[in-house]
């Protein structure tokens, strides 16, 4: 018996090389001015869009997944008390803290910072950059691989096993 074909319903986001560089330029500005450790942009499904960081490592994808989960859970709390959503969340630690803020309906900015800066300065730097960030992310949100102008053709893997056991 044959199975059904999927309806062709494009369900993705694309960031071009040029947009990614523009995004990193804005994020670097926040990183330097607010004296933070890392600045991430992720979507609310948990995908890391891009980040600038003093040290890059593989746990970044986990941070993005957990941050979007945490923001979503807190958003439900907001609804229970009659708010549409919370605009931002701060998790304060002894040495490291995290600040998260909505960037439009689909994205989050996430800042990791230590004791040499303050939440106020982080917020101020994001506020100054938010217009440019939201414009860039809106454009990115509306494009597909074809409309992005990137010349690429994706091909199917030849191996039946994408993941092989060790």
């Amino acid at each position: 018996m044959r199975c059904r074909r999927w309806n062709r319903r494009v369900n993705n986001r694309v960031i071009t090389q040029q947009q990614s560089e523009a995004l990193r330029y804005i994020l670097s500005g926040i990183l330097v001015r607010a004296e933070t450790d890392s600045v991430f942009v992720c979507d609310k499904g948990g995908n890391m869009i891009d980040r600038v960081s003093l040290d890059e490592n593989e746990t970044d994808v986990t941070i993005a997944a957990l941050a979007s989960g945490s923001f979503a859970a807190t958003g439900e709390l907001a609804k229970i008390i009659g708010e549409v959503t919370f605009r931002s969340i701060v998790h304060k630690g002894d040495r490291k803290s995290i600040y998260m803020q909505n960037l439009g309906p689909n994205f989050l900015i996430l800042v990791l910072f230590g004791n040499k800066t303050t939440v106020g300065l982080v917020k101020l730097c994001i506020e100054k950059a938010s217009k440019g960030l939201e414009a860039l992310l809106t454009k990115m949100n509306e494009q597909t691989a074809q409309s992005s102008g990137e010349n690429v053709s994706f091909t199917m893997p030849t191996d039946d096993q994408i993941f092989k056991k060790k």
Binding site: M1, R2, N47, T155
Partner: protein, 220 residues
């Protein structure tokens, strides 16, 4: 919702393991984490209660070079199966690209399987998604236990109509069927991504071959 970063040459794809409580969703991820080489897997994160029941979700990132020229990042999530966590399941489905429905083969769990499957369809609707346009497969887990329903009964119960798909029988605690499930769902999600993003008819035809897999029982 898949995400392509052309600067980093990366594609992110989200797969959610769904199903009733204690059907083996977390076990699937744990076994995948144990069997994958270090250069393929990231840190596994489990948000559990002190009784080891999933409270929010489990998360396991995997990377591969499945699509030539790009790093494919498959983000595997589970949902909490307990009925009270309905809102959480809805949130975890945000931006999902593929689903594995893990059904418990024990007779006494058939009603819970059906409830959870309906719950999946309802929660997908809240994201304007449906099984008609989402790659998904069924895993009939715990096939080693006594008092289990026959495969054809579970197929009849859960695998009907326009959304009929492939099923795999499994014993996740013994690694049976786990990697077959993973590879199949990853390949289907990759095929859907290529269908959505390619204009080349050659590539579309190759992806369509995966988009219409035979409905058959697969196991190791």
């Amino acid at each position: 919702m898949s995400f392509v970063n052309f600067r980093k040459k990366e594609i992110s794809l989200k797969i959610v393991y769904y199903g009733p409580g204690l059907s083996g969703k977390t076990t699937n991820l744990e076994r995948i984490h144990a069997m994958m080489p270090d250069d393929v897997k990231g840190k596994m994160t489990m948000l559990s209660t002190k009784e080891d029941r999933t409270l929010y979700f489990d998360f396991l990132p995997l990377r591969s070079d499945a699509i030539p020229g790009f790093i494919s990042r498959f983000q595997l999530y589970t949902v909490p199966g307990q009925p009270i966590y309905d809102k959480t399941r809805q949130l975890v489905l945000t931006g999902v690209d593929g689903v594995v429905f893990v059904a418990d083969s024990q007779w006494e769990q058939m009603e819970n399987n059906s409830i959870s499957f309906e719950d999946l369809k309802t929660n997908l609707k809240t994201h304007n998604a449906s099984l008609e346009n989402l790659p998904y497969i069924l895993q009939f887990n715990k096939r080693d236990l006594p008092a289990i329903a026959p495969i054809h009964y579970m197929d009849f119960l859960l695998n009907q109509g326009d959304t009929r798909t492939t099923y795999i029988d499994a014993v996740a605690v013994k690694d049976i069927g786990v990697d077959v499930t993973l590879n199949l769902v990853c390949k289907m999600v990759t095929a859907k991504f290529i269908q959505d993003n390619n204009m080349s008819s050659d590539n579309l035809n190759k992806a369509a071959d995966v988009a219409v897999p035979q409905v058959e029982q697969k196991s190791e």
